[in-house]
Symmetry: C2
């Protein structure tokens, strides 16, 4: 299965009743049983990581998996950007 992955870093409880750990190596998938371990390969960075499915989602057409922040970081996705702030009068 190939497609777009997104990631999320907030949340209280996962669909299988765990407390959500943003730094854990977990992910949300629409149909795979909870506890399934899945190797996710980032086609852009070539990195791969094994995640455990503990949540349901993503509920957005065209996306196949929603990774925890920790999983996404391990794959070299997203992160922070350097910005400057100016209050608008």
């Amino acid at each position: 299965q190939s497609g777009a992955a997104s990631w999320y870093g907030s949340g209280h409880q996962t669909a299988n009743g765990e407390r959500f750990n943003p730094n854990g190596m977990t992910a949300a998938h629409r149909s795979l049983p909870f506890g399934t371990r899945v190797r996710v390969e980032n086609k852009q960075t070539g990195r791969s990581v094994v995640v455990r499915i503990n949540d349901r989602g993503p509920f957005v057409r065209g996306r196949i998996i929603d990774l925890s922040r920790g999983s996404a970081r391990a794959l070299g996705m997203g992160g922070t950007s350097y910005v400057s702030l100016h209050v608008v009068d």
Copy 2:
């Protein structure tokens, strides 16, 4: 003020009591008054956007603002990656 910006896409209620809208042009800042409008410039992409402070954070050392997903997208931050999935036996 310059530094690292992160972004978040989940949450129920912001610190000023609004319902969190991941697609809104809002952000969390540690000290600016709620309602302040701030121009955020992404030094990496050169894009800038005006956001409204409606939440408190980020509570991570070294970060100066936590943007809503919509604000981050407008700045060309993060997004999705193309991946492939393989269930691990």
